[in-house]
């Protein structure tokens, strides 16, 4: 059994945890902190990560990248407000994904995250003494599909097989529930550096069932730092023109971060900002906790709305919550503790280190996936409703938010025009009535054989897996054949871009390219197998002749046999062989399904080409 590591990839800090003697432990190398600040510094001769890079936020300010998690799965135009406070440069020529610039090169957000992941991977390898290839990585529960996908891409770029994307608050609940498997209703309030999540769970008999989740992926301790930095800049009296200088802003943000941390245990602190560059500056000022809290309050209060909604979605009153757990470094602020306690009407707990608890939970989930632990099970939900665009730019919902995953839903589409050969489908996530207010995930084009208008019957299956990631498959109900689905993700990297990054990454030798070809052949094999198995199931196995069924099952099992091998060509040959023998079945399914389609069936009508 190979090891699976648990990674908390945070906005401000990251950690890796492993299982040791049946308990999760955070990896902490000798003479170093277990926390790895999520900072990457590109120096002229090398790349630094973590604590070593953090000090470069003053010395190598334009080439030191932090808070990259905020940009995962986003587009350049989404991040205008956030860009202003960051001293590094962005590439404005690419709008579907965020690219940053350092020392003349551009990096996609997942590439920066991959550098952090590689550091965590190597720490874990040193700690357990052998190579690690598989990981569980946590994300904010409220992350959308593109943000989850970007996190998976980052893992792939770091040479990790990401077995599962787990939601941070639920991971934390696993760590908390390790020794007490009946905890009743718990609320996990998770305020990190850049994101906020609230999850309501029912913990019973070792089953951790998420009832509802809510949050804001652009709300965290960072926002308090930035508001505080703006306040300090005003107080410093620096002139307009200098105020917008990214280096000056960067220095004030850093000072604000430090001041906020000091004020956790102290009533007041001294803020010092010095700069000797082109616009020299020397600023020193006493800041009290009360002053800081006044600035932080409006930001902290934005967490209450999502808490209220999550409770409502779960159908619970605050009084029905048995336990409130605080997660994330920002919950160390006394202000947050007071606010949460007041809202839920009971003392909020933080027995486990709020910085470490998510990574510990990720290691527990890794243990479950590796088969090491069978008495615990996490049942998570999809945080956002999934829907498609219909006439007039309205949203037609397919899967509502807070649906337990995995979940799947089928919809049937038809054509409007004679001989139309494609139907466009636009998939979105969000809760608003109009698609313009929701988040576009992807556009699909369904390939259709020419037929009179309204005759086509394309069944599209939307499947959200246990990672909260959507996959779409389509089938032509008249021919029974798989219909082509051309995916164009709206945000994030395309497969080709990830490929290119992998090739460019100097760490990837030929062996890795081969490994990837094998991995891809396996993925395809799996999807062809799934399609065949579902077709057999839907058509009815008993209706297929014995001989034909045996031939198909034979081809299935042959493919399965070679799947774990290391030769991608052999896998591909068996995929072709399976496709060959299922062809007659596909053709015969035509008649059967045509009848069904002509029966009185309600159709969802899609936009025409």
């Amino acid at each position: 059994m190979s090891d699976i590591i648990g990674i908390d990839l945070g906005t401000t800090n990251s950690l890796v945890a492993v299982m040791k003697d049946g308990s999760p432990v955070v990896v902490s190398p000798e003479a170093e902190r277990s926390i790895v600040p999520s900072v990457v510094s590109f120096r002229s001769d090398r790349v630094l990560v973590g604590d070593k890079a953090r000090s470069d936020r003053t010395d190598n300010i334009r080439n030191t990248i932090y808070s990259i998690k905020r940009f995962m799965g986003r587009g350049y135009n989404d991040i205008e407000a956030e860009r202003r406070h960051l001293p590094y440069e962005f590439d404005s020529s690419q709008t579907e994904a965020v690219f940053v610039k350092a020392r003349g090169r551009t990096y996609g957000a997942p590439e920066i995250s991959a550098i952090i992941l590689r550091e965590l991977k190597s720490r874990a390898e040193k700690s357990i003494g052998h190579r690690v290839q598989r990981a569980v990585i946590t994300v904010p529960a409220y992350f959308n599909d593109a943000q989850r996908q970007a996190t998976k891409d980052a893992g792939r770029l770091a040479g990790l097989d990401v077995l599962r994307i787990v939601n941070e608050p639920t991971a934390a609940s696993l760590a908390y529930g390790l020794h007490e498997r009946n905890r009743g209703i718990i609320a996990v309030y998770d305020l990190g550096g850049g994101t906020f999540d609230i999850s309501i769970l029912k913990v019973k008999d070792g089953v951790f069932e998420v009832l509802a989740t809510g949050g804001d992926t652009r709300l965290g301790g960072d926002d308090i730092d930035r508001a505080l930095a703006d306040y300090l800049i005003e107080k410093s009296g620096v002139e307009n023109g200098v105020k917008e200088n990214p280096e000056i802003v960067g220095l004030f943000v850093l000072a604000a971060e430090n001041a906020k941390q000091d004020l956790t245990d102290n009533e007041k602190t001294e803020v010092v900002v010095e700069c000797s560059g082109e616009s020299p500056l020397s600023f020193s000022q006493t800041l009290t906790r009360e002053e800081m809290e006044k600035i932080a309050l409006p930001i902290a209060e934005r967490t209450i709305g999502p808490c209220r909604r999550a409770l409502k979605d779960a159908g619970l009153a605050t009084s029905e919550v048995d336990e409130v757990v605080l997660v994330g470094g920002s919950t160390r602020m006394p202000l947050i503790g007071r606010m949460v306690t007041e809202f839920f009407g009971k003392e909020a707990k933080s027995e486990l280190n709020p910085d470490e608890v998510v990574a510990l939970g990720a290691a527990v989930q890794a243990d479950i996936l590796s088969g090491g632990r069978t008495d615990m099970l996490l049942l998570d939900v999809t945080p956002l409703s999934l829907g498609i665009e219909t006439m007039g730019g309205a949203m037609s919902w397919i899967i509502p938010r807070n649906t337990t995953i995995p979940t799947s839903q089928r919809e049937v589409f038809t054509t409007f025009k004679d001989n139309q050969t494609g139907v466009d489908i636009h998939v979105l996530q969000g809760e608003r009535e109009l698609i313009k207010d929701n988040r576009s995930l992807a556009k699909f084009v369904l390939g259709i054989d020419p037929a009179p208008a309204g005759m086509a019957r394309i069944e599209v299956s939307f499947l959200i897996d246990a990672n909260g990631i959507l996959s779409v498959t389509a089938r032509d109900l008249r021919s029974g054949k798989a219909a082509s689905v051309e995916v164009q993700p709206s945000y994030g990297l395309t497969d080709e871009q990830v490929e290119k990054m992998l090739l460019e990454s100097f760490e990837h030798a030929e062996a890795d390219i081969h490994a990837r070809q094998v991995l891809e052949a396996r993925t395809e094999a799996e999807s062809v197998m799934a399609a065949t198995m579902r077709a057999l199931r839907d058509y009815g196995e008993d209706k297929v002749g014995d001989e034909e069924r045996n031939v198909i099952k034979q081809a299935l099992s042959e493919l399965e046999k070679v799947m774990d091998g290391d030769d991608h060509q052999v896998i591909r040959d068996k995929i072709d062989a399976l496709n060959e023998v299922t062809h007659p079945l596909a053709e015969r399914m035509m008649d059967n399904v045509l009848k069904e389609a002509l029966a009185n069936k309600r159709l969802t009508e899609a936009m025409s080409d």
Partner: protein, 215 residues
Amino acid sequence: MNRTSTKNKKLFSVFDEDGEIQPVPASVDHFAFLELPKKMNINEAVLESTFFEYSRKLHPDFFMNAPASKRILSLDASARLNAAYKTLKDPIQRAVYLVELESGKLEENDSSPPVELLEDIFMAQEAAADYKCCENGGEEAEGLRANLMAAKECFEAQRSGQRAALDKLGGRWDEAVDAGEEPPSEVIDKLRSVLGLRNYIENILRNVDRALEEA
């Protein structure tokens, strides 16, 4: 009317004799899938423990190291299980599902709102629209809010009346099932009309809530 026959039908089980997961055909309904009686009232504690028990046997977490074919079966069966649990644990969704299983889809315009409700519906929609439009606070907004709250109360009362009617009809349904009979068609018809009307009431309450939230 009755399309499903319980007679002479082999009971479905998602597990074969060796405990391996079987494909779940679309023709297997949620009750059959979970091996529960097709009744309006079900023991929710039993439903929950059944859901947990099946989750422990079907969830993809426990098949990460299994061959691909088993992983696919686990994923599909888990999605199916989650859908079944979601539908059956909510009494209303369960009632709709059961009625549709027995007598066909409830179309949205299956039942038109009764005449005595028309005026109330109109008033509620009007109040919601007015309240949304009026941006400035003050006395006018207060008045409109009061109108809206009154509409909300009226429809909430309607809703609880509906709920009582549903409970009664559900009881009669179950009595028939317990006696080994088909649910009387009179009960089915009444359920269809109550459930159809419920859509109207829910829509109005949703609208009212949205108006209250937005302001």
